[in-house]
Amino acid sequence: MLIYARFHGRGGHGVKTASRILGTSAHLEGFHVQDFPIYGAERRGAPVTAFTKISDDPLKLLDRGYIFNPNLVLVSDESLLSDPIANPLSGIQTGGTAFINTTKNIDHLQIKHDNINIVVGDVTGLSLRYVGRVVLSTGIGAIATKLTGMIRWNSLEEAVKEELQEIGIKGELLEKNILLAKTCFELVYPAPLPPPSQQKKYKIVELNWTHPPYNIPEIWNIGNTKIRKTGSWRVFKPLINLEKCTRCSLCVIYCPEGVIEMVDNSLVVDYDNCKGCLICFNECPVKAISYVREAEAV
């Protein structure tokens, strides 16, 4: 028995902790485990990957390093599916399982891969309901644990307590997280996880062809981060009610990204790059700015 689980998410949402929760609960169940994350120089909101390897035989876990051929993939943000750098489904084992955190139906996800099982669920919504914040570590960790089909609730509960206490979460907040874990644990059923082939591919992700202006280094370029489209980081989308707005332009000044612009006495938001920090919502003196969950926005 060998499980290669790969977690894809965004920095700050708890992907690393999710992989640790899976690892610790498997360890408490008596399995041999490795877990480790990778992240680049980028920050909260940028794509992050974490890995967990589980086996009943320590000799099967002698190798070290990244997982290129997972049989279980957990994607904590559906916008990552179309991100060429994250490319979460690359190398997934035929017949393996992918969990995708989304409010959409499977048919609406437009996933090209055949011969894999797709499981969907709205962990973001559950986390907002139970914890009040977007913290996906517990939810995604619990779902991964259940999908393996060989870890009991008691081990998961113990693992959630251990991992969250380590990062300073205790008391009422911990209780809420355990409730969230219980809900997510009951949300899905064990999935088929065929053993990963031992064929090595020395690539973390397969990079697809990109349009030349995106990938040719040009040191004379100025202000070209705009083409990176950080809008996919957003969980909540700010909406400006122009009828209520007094054009005081505080949001234009206070936007850290500078994506709100005053054009012809009207406000225009560059949603391609808005990271959804919601400072504009908080600072608007007449409360003309509201927000909705990205998944519900039209």
Binding site: G11, G12, A41, E42, R43, R44, G45, A46, R133, G168, G171, I216, P217, E218, I219, N221, I222, G223, N224, T225, K226, I227, R228, K229, T230, W233, C248, S249, L250, V252, I253, Y254, C255, P256, E257, G258, V259, M262, D270, N273, C274, K275, G276, C277, L278, I279, F281, N282, E283
Partner: protein, 317 residues
């Protein structure tokens, strides 16, 4: 505040942006917000010298959010890099190899780690030599880039990765914040100020005033850090404003060492309001309230402002 300023209302700040969107910095970052406002006022003819820190990541080759030039240096030597660029520009202009109207402003941007700790000597050297440059220190009160370890800018009572509250050490970080403003002021630079992104007009007026002087023009900005301080990203500006209104972050300027406060709160908000909204101070309130530490922090703020009221308003409170 000077009434003859070009910047009278927020609308006067709607000029061109020189920092565009799409940086890989955290959502709700206080440092990039400060830099954006600062750059607006400074104009486009700037070369930034950036010591290692969070903001270094905004320029991620081959991408840059800046419409101006940028150079990267090690943590200790951003002001030394600025000296090199300033000298090169001066020599090239003197020899007539670049026209005088293509002169650039040289500006240093570093975090508190480089300004308060690692680069203290090189900034002291540059101020001492009277180098004509701007220095913007974005102070998030810890080494935020590497996972929020304490720096000498960390305030009393803060939890950081290297000063966690423990049963033996329940208050978190035990030392007081280093007073960089006073250290720099001792050099008597032409212009020195503290700024906050919650007060953009104050930033604009201070830069406008600083531009008149030749020599070091130094700015220390509070820059709230959502992941490190532990608050929701939407609270960044409110957190900076609370810091000003509770009096923990005074807005002041010093011209050749003469201090003047640009914002004097008539009634200080209790510092508890600022502390209890941040996870880094949560251990001071939960599970039991550490009234002693909170009182120490409040007491120091009150003592500071009592002195300010006495000196600048001639009041004894």
């Amino acid at each position: 505040m000077s009434s003859n300023s070009r910047y009278r209302s927020i609308k006067d700040l709607l000029s061109e942006d020189y920092v565009v969107a799409g940086t890989p910095l955290c959502s709700g970052c206080g440092a990039i917000l400060t830099l954006r406002i600062f750059h607006k006022i400074l104009g486009g003819n700037v070369v930034w010298v950036n010591a290692a820190g969070c903001v270094t990541l905004m320029v991620n080759y081959p991408f840059t959010p800046l419409k101006s030039s940028w150079m990267y240096t090690a943590m200790a030597c951003a002001p030394a890099g600025a000296q090199g660029i300033r000298d090169a520009l001066d020599i090239l202009m003197e020899k007539g190899r670049i026209p005088v109207d293509q002169d650039l402003k040289v500006a240093v941007i570093t975090g508190d780690g480089a300004a308060y700790d690692i680069g203290l000597q090189s900034s002291s050297g540059a101020i001492y030599r009277g180098l004509d440059f701007y220095y913007l220190c974005y102070d998030n009160e810890a080494y935020g880039n590497t996972g929020f370890q304490f720096s000498s800018a960390t305030p009393l009572g803060s939890r950081t990765a290297t000063s966690p509250p423990t049963p033996l050490n329940p208050e978190g970080y035990k030392k007081k914040k280093k007073d960089l403003f006073e250290i720099w002021r001792a050099h008597k630079p032409p212009y020195l100020a503290t700024i906050s992104p919650s007060h953009p007009l104050d930033i604009a007026r201070k830069i406008e005033k600083a531009e008149k002087y030749r020599g070091p023009k130094l700015f220390i900005a509070i820059s709230p850090c959502p992941p490190g301080w532990g608050f929701e990203t939407m609270e960044t500006v409110r957190m900076a404003r609370l810091a000003v209104e509770t009096g923990i972050w005074p807005l002041k300027e010093a011209i050749y060492g003469e201090v003047k406060h640009t914002y004097i709160p008539r009634k200080l908000k209790p510092v508890e309001e600022y502390l209890k909204t941040q996870a880094r101070f949560r251990h001071l309130f939960y599970p039991v309230k550490n009234a002693e530490i909170i009182q120490t922090i409040q007491g120091e703020i009150e003592e500071y402002w009592r002195e300010v009221y006495r000196r600048e308003l001639g009041e004894n409170i």
